[in-house]
């Protein structure tokens, strides 16, 4: 009779307890309300997708009720919304975006093919929520360029904004190099920059220790 021939029923119990623990883990696993549908690299690429934006002049159709299945969501808070908003817009203020019913609402709108246009005070305001919704698979969510402020300034002649690009982002409005050039006449330097020496992160070991 050797050690290894002893009946391993306790081992079986210990291992089974472990298996039960894992099964309980699987059963109680938190099912998230939202999951990323786009990977990081897809999300980066998706920012170039012009289909994800909604132009101010397109609002005319929405306001005039000519375009079906487009819903405007105003993410500013309720009070500001009450003071003025794009006609036909619904209020879904940013603080409530994480509410389950709002997420469900978006899911329902996606499923029946309705386009959702998000807007905030300016474009920046709605940019974050818009990006997140696109990343979690709401491909029907679009961002209103220029935001409410631009709409408000041009609401009388939205069609004219077709030729206006003052609301567009990612454009240098000034010639930086010239503007910031020293005024003593040394002019604009076009010297290739030396890479800046900055600290980089090592692969982190969070809890140091071991033997």
């Amino acid at each position: 009779m050797h050690i290894h021939e002893l009946n391993p029923w306790r081992t079986l119990i210990a291992l089974s307890a472990f298996v039960v623990l894992l099964i309980v883990g699987f059963l109680t696993m938190h099912k998230p309300l939202l999951t990323y549908e786009k990977s990081m690299s897809e999300s980066v690429a998706a920012l170039e997708d012009s289909d994800a934006y909604f132009y101010p002049w397109q609002l005319e159709d929405v306001i005039g009720n000519k375009a079906g299945n487009i819903v405007l969501f105003d993410i500013r808070d309720n009070f500001v919304f009450g003071q003025g908003h794009i006609p036909g817009a619904e209020n879904m203020s940013a603080n409530n975006l994480t509410r389950e019913e709002n997420i469900e609402r978006l899911k329902a709108l996606r499923d029946n093919g309705t386009t959702v246009v998000l807007y905030g005070e300016d474009e920046l305001h709605a940019n974050g929520p818009w990006m997140l919704f696109r990343q979690v698979g709401f491909s029907n969510v679009k961002l209103l360029l220029g935001g409410y402020r631009y709409y408000f300034e041009h609401k009388d002649d939205l069609a004219a904004t077709k030729n206006d690009d003052s609301y567009k982002k990612g454009i240098a409005r000034f010639n930086y190099a010239e503007m910031a050039a020293p005024e003593d006449g040394t002019g604009v330097k076009h010297v290739a920059k030396q890479p800046v020496q900055v600290e980089r992160r090592q692969k982190s070991n969070v809890a140091a220790g071991g033997c």
């Binding site: 081992t11 894992l22 980066v44 920046l124 076009h190 920059k193 600290e199 982190s204």
Partner: protein, 203 residues
Amino acid sequence: MNRNYIILTLIMLILAFGTLFLKMDDELDQVDPEILLQEIIQPTRYVTTDQVAKMIIKGDPSLMLIDVRNEEDFQNYSLPRSVNIPLDSLLNPENLSYLGIKGTKVVFVSDDDIKADQMWVLTKRLGYKGTYVMKGGLNCWMQTIIEPQQPSGDASYADQETYSFRKGAQMYFTGASAESSDDAKVEVQVQRREKSSVAAGGC
């Protein structure tokens, strides 16, 4: 008796095989979408051009400026000590190593604030902390720091103070000669928490 060993072997094998079917994120670690959304709706990530200018002037070692424009624009003009990470090459591991250093404040800069904000959302999804967006971007930088507008005579004291700081900063960043020596004092108490002055020339 050996039957129990067979059962044990089988359990272990099944467990080990099971790991193959676990959907592991090969990707970098990511923040839960819900938590990310909650962070996104907080406006705490924005810093003003004045704050950035102060930090640069003071030489704050914890500041790291990351320029998210493309390389050509970056070569043409960039803020001092900034690092170029074009938005579309963020996921390059070499670029990611700039982020997530303990104790640094990373400020994203672009032409305006949209691209920087998009960068912020993407890096936040990857779980990096201590990242900020320079509100208004370089366009605002030009308007406020490089060519500050003098407030009208009856403007509040705070506005006058902001203006005098900006004139000093302008001199620092461009080498412009100061119009009057009084205005040119560069105010460098960076960390001071300030009440936001309304007329401080927002972009």
